[in-house]
Symmetry: C2
Amino acid sequence: MTNPDPFDINCNSCFGQCHPLFRYLTDNERLTISLNSNCQAYKRGSVIYREGNKMRGFYCVQSGIIKIYKTGSDGKKQIIRFAEPGDLIGYRSVISNEPACTTSEVIELSEVCFIPAELLFDLIKQNGDFAVGLMKLVCIELGEANSYITDIAQKSVKERLSEVLINLYHEFGEDKQGILKISLTREELSNIVGTATESIIRLLSELKNEGMIELNGRKIKILDKPGLKHSANM
Amino acid sequence: MTNPDPFDINCNSCFGQCHPLFRYLTDNERLTISLNSNCQAYKRGSVIYREGNKMRGFYCVQSGIIKIYKTGSDGKKQIIRFAEPGDLIGYRSVISNEPACTTSEVIELSEVCFIPAELLFDLIKQNGDFAVGLMKLVCIELGEANSYITDIAQKSVKERLSEVLINLYHEFGEDKQGILKISLTREELSNIVGTATESIIRLLSELKNEGMIELNGRKIKILDKPGLKHSANM
DNA sequence: CGGTACGTTGAGTCATATCAACCATAGTGG
DNA sequence: CCACTATGGTTGATATGACTCAACGTACCG
């Protein structure tokens, strides 16, 4: 339950790393944002915003990895997605004007830039290309959510785990030794797949025995991508 | 596999019944739309657009009920949501510029108005209030999808069925005799809950025996709303 | 009158959750 | 420096929710 305090950082070069969306902005708009935004670093375990919070703005991720999850009625976490450098988080609740429907918690040391809500609305209204771009972003996320619903409802736990591993590979890639760059606990994996931790452990070692993956603690190496995809029924 | 042809209808008064979103439009914008849109009626079983289709525009529902579903890798349908009078369908794929990720099929005789994609983009760029309103719509849908993911991943089939019944009540209401206005086959219910048809049948009669609901073929009457909510773990 | 779609019930099986015990590791405070 | 505690990982045994398969009933429709 530790929740380390964030700390201010210097972020002159914010927009360099930011979402391609910001390319649509005029110099003037960019200036307004950099005058009104506020960058902070958060350590692993920090919560950037919590389910139920009223959102006064949204965030742009400069570095690190963040998990976005919902808490079910029995307290179990369900990871909805991850945010990486360039991603925006929290904008959904800002726009829909609802309390945050998810919690976002840092997995790897992250630098995050806060941008107040009013600026977001101004940009949407002033800059049509930005509006279309942002809307495209939400629509893609919605499409992914729809697929996720179908998968969870219809696939077996093993199929889902295989699919999750493939997705993590596509999203985060692997290092020189072929190890998945994102490192998750078994529990976090179970919170993505939507199952018990023990099931994840058993199925991971099944996949290992089938030669699909190699395991070394939290380090996961995918050995047989086509095999895994097949196992995921993709 | 029948797919009755749609037929043209007169739709002078389209915008009267349309989504509140359209209130943001100027008279001029409204005129442009009514000159370029095209209303048709579709019978039960008709498919308005099919998963994988390239979308040349989106639709505004004037009357009727439409189910929006995805087909899983084994061919099983997963109903994502329903569309009612005033709802927009198909806009997600238009904006994200992807092929349709769902199929929309008519459940009850529907009048539907087609609006070409270019007009949508023009409106977003020209009319800031419209842009914000539409974005709000997508964001709310995304929030609902996130809840759905969590529910399907964590709740039992019976909890989900109870919740679906409550949701159908809120969305469609009941007639004078207290019977849910939307009438679904057991299979359609199973395609919402994400389970086997037989399970739905058994659980419906369990809920009946517990005094939660009354059954008469497809007619479902909710007797004990608080009880159902409790059974849904809401 | 036969066909087709829908609904129901029973029996058997299997995937997955749950419960419990145990080990490894690392951080903490006295 | 050591005992203590928390966290994460693993394994086995057991229970059960939910699916599958199969048979049959029912109703409507051309």
